[in-house]
């Protein structure tokens, strides 16, 4: 075992110990927070997956992903609220719209930047993020806080623990979508093409793998997962996540989740997402109880970044990031 593995295992054991202590100390509160954390984590996992597929296919860190999440939520909102469409149909429609937007971004903006400095490319993705944000501001001037949905305010009881129905839907949907992605990625020909392209684009081309098609597909996937994440965030009626800036603020927390998991690992996206989601909710729930000196609530927003720095110090490529396969 390498040194960083040992340190990470030690850190993991300590964190697990804290969680077990909290669980025994007050199971009801713990599991309520835990469920909310897993639901939030599923959302982060989806946002991160969007980052990861694009990074793998193109090497681009796409900051517009956050904008795609928010924009996707608004497209669903528009279909449900303004046009009165069915909730699921609206989400499907938004997924198609964002897939097209993603492919368009790549085709008409980012492809032209091939070979340009990384810094200019990052600036461009931030520019696209701002473009989406300003479009939202212009189109949806006075939107409600929530995407109307069948589960508003309802909870379901599992034992003595009350879980928001929206959170249950989020967990199930997240699990289904992530599982579908992994099947595609691991067990299909297209998935093989995606993995080969991530390793060596030219060698992939030499096998007849259409790299442009793989890149387009990656952007489309990023658009689809962005819509699901955004719609689930926008459907959650708790005040901390309204539409617009609320979603953007939450989606931005996916950045530390992505770095924790490793920029190029889909598994890392899921693990990083869950770590950040759960730790966020735990911090919200326990901070005033155990460390009141830190004020009323700000700590929860900082914790993901603290974890990120911790992971980076121990393993710079993230928990599941590529440590290249090489003979030693």
């Amino acid at each position: 075992m390498k040194r960083d593995d040992m340190v990470l295992t030690a850190v993991g054991v300590v964190i697990l110990g804290i969680l077990v202590y909290l669980a025994f100390d007050g199971p009801q509160k713990f599991f309520t927070l835990f469920a909310a954390g897993v639901a939030l984590g599923a959302v982060y996992a989806l946002v991160c997956l969007g980052f990861v597929v694009i990074y793998r296919a193109t090497g681009i860190v796409n900051f517009a992903q956050v904008g795609m999440v928010v924009f996707g939520a608004f497209v669903t909102y528009n279909a449900v609220n303004t046009w009165g469409w069915n909730y699921w149909l609206s989400m499907l429609f938004a997924a198609a719209v964002l897939a097209v937007i993603g492919i368009g971004f790549e085709r008409f903006a980012l492809r032209r930047m091939t070979g340009k400095p990384v810094f200019s490319i990052i600036l461009l993705t931030i520019g696209l993020y701002l473009l989406l944000q300003s479009l939202i501001g212009a189109i949806w001037t006075n939107a409600k806080d929530t995407i109307p949905n069948p589960w508003i305010g309802k909870t379901v009881s599992i034992g003595s623990v009350n879980v928001l129905q929206v959170d249950v839907v989020t967990m199930i949907l997240g699990a289904v979508v992530l599982a579908a992605f992994f099947v595609l990625f691991r067990y299909t020909k297209v998935g093989l093409g995606m993995r080969a392209t991530a390793i060596d684009q030219e060698a992939a081309l030499a096998q007849g793998i259409s790299v442009p098609a793989i890149v387009a597909l990656s952007w489309a996937i990023a658009g689809v997962v962005a819509v699901i994440a955004g719609t689930m965030l926008g459907s959650n009626a708790t005040p901390k996540v309204g539409l617009g800036l609320g979603i953007a603020a939450v989606a931005l927390q996916a950045l530390p989740a992505m770095v924790i998991g490793g920029l190029d690992s889909p598994v890392g996206a899921v693990v990083g997402g869950l770590i950040v989601g759960v730790s966020y909710e735990m911090a919200v729930g326990y901070q005033t109880q155990y460390i009141p000196s830190l004020g009323s609530n700000g700590f929860a927003d900082v914790l993901p970044y603290l974890l990120m720095v911790l992971v980076l110090l121990i393993r710079p490529s993230g928990l599941f990031g590529a440590r290249e396969v090489q003979r030693v």
Binding site: K189, L192, G193, Q201, E202, L205, A206, I209, V325, Q326
Partner: protein, 272 residues
């Protein structure tokens, strides 16, 4: 060549390639690969061998290069217009310089990636079995990450991957590079076996002995131009080749530039 017995599968005619708009890497290269033949392409470092393969297989643009002049005809099709994906589909596969296997994927996945353009699952499965028979070592290591294999095994993965495309023409870029003599022999035998199965081969090599011992025809590239061509036996017996490539002459490895002048002189001499 009358009667079309030697109908070439690949015709490269007067190809000129420029990198980054200024670097002239090929200056009017012509070459033919007869159907069913092994053709060797020799030349020193930087002569333009890899560049020629890129022009043929459509990977020129990845490197910021451009075919300015000339034509490449593969199995009757204009290869310059096909692009890399359709070229593979049309039946051309290549083993790139430096092997370029997918290190993080398993041997099995590497091989399957070679069949990416093929639809016929049964034929692909049959080829897969055949290739594992050709490379028993790979059969044993099917589930390991290809990056952990030895250099020779990795070269076999690269060749096996190319064969999974069921190519009519196989391009090989220095398959013997960095391998021990015993492995080089093995690779040579494999190339002969592949060719015996009906696949035409264009073999780029710096190991001229190996290449010419199995090639029907050979070309020598120097500074982006063909300076010598002939049958494998002719080139093997050629004093200059012996001197510059086989290390049996006095001077050992040196430039071919002088030779090029000589070659020109000989040609113009024969015309007048």
């Amino acid at each position: 060549m009358a009667g079309g017995v030697d109908r070439p599968i690949l015709v490269v005619s007067d190809v000129e390639v420029v990198y980054a708009d200024v670097i002239l890497a090929l200056r009017g290269v012509s070459l033919e690969v007869p159907e069913g033949a092994i053709v060797a392409l020799l030349g020193a470092n930087g002569a333009g061998k890899t560049t020629l393969l890129r022009a043929i297989s459509g990977l020129m643009r990845v490197h910021g290069g451009e075919v300015r002049r000339g034509s490449v005809t593969f199995a009757g099709q204009d290869a310059l217009r096909l692009g890399p994906v359709k070229t593979v589909r049309a039946g051309m596969a290549q083993v790139m310089e430096g092997r370029r296997i997918f290190a993080g994927l398993t041997v099995d996945e590497n091989l399957r990636s070679g069949a990416f353009t093929r639809k016929d699952k049964k034929a692909v499965a049959a080829d897969y079995e055949r290739i594992l028979e050709l490379f028993p070592r790979l059969a044993e290591r099917r589930k390991s990450a290809a990056g952990y294999l030895s250099g020779g095994e990795q070269q076999m993965v690269a060749i096996g991957r190319a064969l999974m495309a069921a190519p009519k023409l196989l391009l090989l870029d220095e398959p013997s590079l960095g391998l021990a003599p015993r492995i080089v022999e093995q690779i040579r035998d494999i190339i002969v076996a592949i060719n015996a199965g009906g696949t035409s081969v264009l073999l780029v090599e710096q190991n001229a002995t190996m290449a010419l011992s199995i090639a029907r025809l050979g070309y020598v590239l120097e500074n982006g131009a063909v300076v010598k061509q002939g049958t494998g036996a002719e080139l093997l017996a050629d004093a200059d080749i012996q001197e510059f490539y086989l290390g049996t002459g006095e001077a050992g490895r040196a430039s071919f530039r002088g030779l090029k002048e000589q070659y020109r002189a000989a040609r113009t001499g024969s015309v007048s």
